[in-house]
């Protein structure tokens, strides 16, 4: 018995159903290519949108987290004659007890780079490794004011500066931060200044 085979029967392949013609193969290949292209294009677009959204979310989170860190460290400020709390509109510096030692923590706004920098210097030792680094980027404005007794006006009020001449710690610090896409304001109570 002979098998039903194109070679054996001598029948043309194009007449049977066992294979594809060149045209059919080309159509299938081009269809798959179009499909693959559209899939990869949509995937790439999705990734691009995802990255942009993630960057936006990160840029919105960074000031919030940075502000929270500043608030936490301000709350831990301690009064000691060896290190004074000082501050102006765009920077502040105060003593903190960190990892069994006294540290001078500073926050400084650099308008040129639009960044807020934090540094931690051991009061009786070397600077922290990798200190003075930016913690908030793309800052359009950063303002500090300090609540305490003003010997000039003789009332308790927010002042633009806090110097070593003023006694102890301010009772509170108001932080105003303006970044692309939002403005944040926080009044941080300093327990040891109460």
């Amino acid at each position: 018995m002979m098998k039903n085979n194109a070679f054996q029967t001598g029948r043309s392949v194009s007449q049977g159903r066992e294979g594809f013609t060149l045209v059919e193969a080309l159509i299938v290949v081009s269809l798959f290519a179009m499909l693959g292209l559209s899939l990869s294009a949509s995937f790439a677009t999705g990734l691009k949108v995802w990255k942009r959204a993630a960057a936006l979310v990160y840029s919105q989170r960074q000031p919030i987290i940075g502000l929270e860190r500043l608030a936490l460290e301000l709350r831990r400020a301690v009064a000691t004659p060896s290190l004074a709390f000082t501050g102006s509109e765009d920077q502040c510096s105060f003593p903190n007890v960190l990892s069994e030692g006294l540290w001078n923590i500073s926050y400084r706004y650099d308008a040129a780079t639009e960044k807020i920098y934090r540094s931690a210097v051991a009061a009786y030792g070397e600077e922290e490794a990798g200190a003075s680094r930016s913690i908030i980027n793309h800052v359009e404005n950063f303002t500090l004011s300090f609540y305490g007794y003003n010997p000039v006006s003789e009332v308790m009020e927010f002042m633009d500066t806090w110097s070593a001449n003023l006694s102890g710690l301010p009772k509170a610090v108001r932080v105003t931060l303006q970044v692309k896409g939002g403005e944040f304001e926080k009044v941080v109570l300093i327990p040891a200044g109460q």
Binding site: R75, E100, P191
Partner: protein
């Protein structure tokens, strides 16, 4: 007439293509869903962190004020005994503050004690040069000791839990630790007799039946039934005369855990002067 379909049923061969398209779409949608889920979860965590961070501070502050008011109205403005300093949970509705207290004036005041006492502090161990450094520049914070010549991290680690910088320099005999009494010069038998007196009938300190030294001048008399010897009596009278002892304290250390259910949201340590109400130190973790 031949029927026309907008979406004709795929023939057997074309069904594979549809499957691939469907699988591809599902994969893309799944990636987007996972990404969106992760983003939302991060936002929720950040929001919870901010809420916990800001509210925990105020719960801690409320606990300090509540305990200050409680001690003022319950007994006296100043705390005297271990029983008054017993740990307690403070319920604020949604949050609980589990507070543990310790008396700063149960420790040796390193800024206001004379050299003969400072020389007995473990770590200093008779180092007179270091004692002169300590006396020359009184510390406002314990950590200020680290700037002194001759003070290294090892010495600091040994003495930091035995000393304080708060108070008037006198030691509260109702809460003084055995190490503090030893540093003051009390021998082991005298330390034991003081502890036995304070513990009361149940022999446990920090319980309701604790005995209290209400006045420094009656300390020798109250310890007489516990076998106070003549030399111990003379020694105690010397401490009283030198104004090294007292029977109350105003500087209390708070160790607070702000909790939501069993979850600890924040740990706060504070030192509070109960007499003035001033918070002298505030550490948050």
């Amino acid at each position: 007439m031949k029927r026309l379909f907008l979406f004709p049923r795929a023939n057997r061969r074309n069904r594979g293509t549809i499957l691939i398209v469907a699988v591809g779409t599902i994969v893309v949608l799944s990636i987007l869903a996972v990404g969106a889920g992760s983003s939302v979860s991060q936002e929720l965590r950040l929001s919870a962190f901010l809420t916990d961070s800001n509210t925990s501070f105020y719960y801690g502050l409320s606990a300090v004020r509540a305990m200050k008011a409680y001690w003022q109205f319950a007994s006296s403005p100043l705390v005297t005994t271990f029983y008054e300093l017993r740990p307690r949970p403070l319920d604020f509705g949604e949050r609980t503050v589990e507070a543990v207290f310790s008396d700063e004036e149960a420790l040796v005041n390193i800024s206001r004690s004379p050299s003969e006492i400072l020389l007995r502090i473990p770590g200093i161990d008779g180092n007179e040069a270091l004692v002169q450094e300590i006396l020359a520049s009184p510390a406002a914070l314990k950590e200020d000791l680290l700037r002194l010549n001759g003070m290294d991290p090892e010495i600091y680690a040994t003495l930091k839990d035995l000393v304080t910088v708060y108070g008037d320099g006198k030691v509260n005999i109702n809460t003084a630790t055995p190490q503090t009494l030893s540093i003051l010069g009390c021998g082991e038998p005298l330390v034991r007799k003081i502890a036995e007196f304070r513990a009361g009938e149940d022999a446990l300190e920090g319980t309701e039946d604790d005995n209290v030294f209400n006045d420094v001048n009656v300390i020798p008399t109250l310890l007489q039934p516990y076998g106070l010897t003549a030399s111990e009596k003379i020694f105690l009278e010397g401490l009283i005369f030198a104004q090294r002892l007292k029977t109350y304290s105003g500087n209390i250390r708070f160790e607070m855990a702000v909790k939501q259910g069993n979850k600890t949201l924040r740990t706060i340590r504070a030192v509070v002067d109960l007499a003035s109400g001033q918070i002298k130190r505030w550490d948050e973790e």
